[in-house]
Symmetry: C2
Subunit: 301 residues, 2 copies
């Protein structure tokens, strides 16, 4: 079928774009290494017009965009919507992209986090895409974990995102592995060290002390230095999966892992270690479904 | 009086040296910006001979050194002593510095930490110096906190260090403030933001989420961006002082703060916020007293 919509998930470091047909199936797709943090002011609109639309033969298509493109770093600052919020509320908050009469940008969400308001931009669209893929999901409570640089733990009740909490475990992993005494360039693929890190995560408290054990296990415990990244990952993800459901007031539910398959795999192992059931779902497919659902909702509210 | 001993606290980033008279009083002192991490292999011994001894007119004096100078980064690798350890055990572990017949290097300690063995080099000498300054301190239990890049929480019972736990809060503050989304070059001196951070630290759990509130309070909560370092400091120190005494199994005792006066001041405020009594003691004076006590113990065991 012919493409009917240009859908974009435009984040801080990357842009993924798809054209979709009238049933929401992907016609073409493209990746661009041009997250909004890499672009100067005004450059977002220009490159969307000059590069993204032509690359996907989508010069004349309506477009729906989500992610940091709606922040003050992006195309235009789209106000956060308050939680609880459902798909209709998100569609109602779509804002026209300045200078492109057929492009709409989705708002992010804000809601009560762990110690004050929390924020997200982009993950909400994936959540609504995941919900839209199966009508049964629109009832009841779900705990959704979206791993990443800033992982989101999201509580959904009857189709609405009611609250969420951001864990910056991914960024901690990155900055500690590159700039701290735990610096180590080995790949983080050692299953045994990851599991040792999960054990060292304990109840998730005293994280600043548990992180230091990544050093002391090498200098005093005889562990191999090159297993440090895997161990560090285990400590950080182990502490996060312990705290995430509790932070939502929703411990005991199975966890829906939504995102990159490899990263979800580490979270799945960490949750299994704690006896928590999981299901894993592709974040990219959810983004496509969410952007298409926003488009449909705008056409036929 | 004439100088009788050259005492050195030689750490990762800095070297402090003193000459002491026969009563342990400081005759001369000097600072050198040459921590062991800044020196190449073999350079430690050479610069001690060529620069440190002459600068303090201590060419012919016996010397006692503590800190990372006794690590594999330093002059020679001095094995860790096991906890529990008292001053006599530390003196018994002094090792001759290769190539300098009158210099001795103190061992570090290892002991059961939060999730495996923990290690320290240098802080133990300050603890024994603090203990040596008042005979009453040699009985009973003390919780000592030594703030720094890698803060040490130390439990002392009847003059022996029985266990300790390292929190890398200081290094987290440094790497997050320079390399993460929380990067901000403003000075961390805002009392209100520090206190807001202490509140946001909560029970100290879910630290990776509490840290992200330093971002969301600005983008969604209207807080001033330039207060980020103070707030971040409050979250990290608040979480640490909540977890430190519990990690030692010694909650409820007053806390002895031993170290840099300014940093101890922030810890004092964080502990007062939680209703914990503190006393603050100069770390440099404790290092001098500890190095002198080691010297005396070696002379007259």
């Amino acid at each position: 079928m012919a493409a009917e919509l240009l859908a974009c998930d435009w984040g801080t470091t990357n842009l993924r774009a798809w054209t979709l047909d009238g049933a929401g199936a992907v016609v073409e797709e493209a990746d661009f290494p041009m997250g909004v943090s890499r672009l100067g002011p005004g450059e977002v609109a220009r490159r969307f017009h000059d590069e993204v639309r032509p690359a996907l033969k989508a010069e004349a298509l309506p477009a729906v965009l989500c992610g940091m493109v709606g922040s003050n770093l992006g195309w235009t600052s789209v106000p956060y919507l308050d939680c609880p919020a459902d798909l209709a509320a998100l569609a109602g908050g779509l804002v026209a992209a300045p200078g492109d009469p057929t492009a709409r940008i989705a708002p992010g969400l804000t809601g009560p986090g762990l110690a004050g308001p929390d924020v997200m931009r982009g993950e909400e669209t994936q959540v609504f895409g995941w919900l839209a893929a199966d009508r049964d999901r629109l009832e009841g409570r779900h705990v959704i974990c979206h791993p990443g640089t800033h992982a989101k733990w999201i509580l959904v009740e009857d189709g609405r995102i009611v609250r969420f909490v951001t864990f910056m475990s991914g960024e901690l992993f990155s900055v500690l592995g590159r700039h701290s005494i735990l610096k180590c360039e080995a790949p983080g693929e050692d299953e045994d060290a990851f599991r040792a890190g999960l054990e060292a995560a304990g109840d998730g408290g005293a994280l600043a002390a548990r992180l230091f054990t990544a050093r002391s296990r090498v200098v005093a415990g005889g562990a191999a230095f090159e297993t440090t990244p895997s161990y560090l990952s285990g400590v950080l993800i182990g502490a996060e999966v312990q705290a995430g459901p509790e932070a939502l007031g929703a411990a005991g539910l199975p966890v829906v892992l939504l995102g990159d398959a490899r990263l979800c795999g580490w979270y799945r192992r960490a949750l299994a270690f704690r006896g928590v059931a999981t299901s894993t779902h592709d974040g990219e497919a959810a983004a496509v479904a969410g952007l298409f659902a926003l488009y449909q909702m705008e056409q036929d509210p």
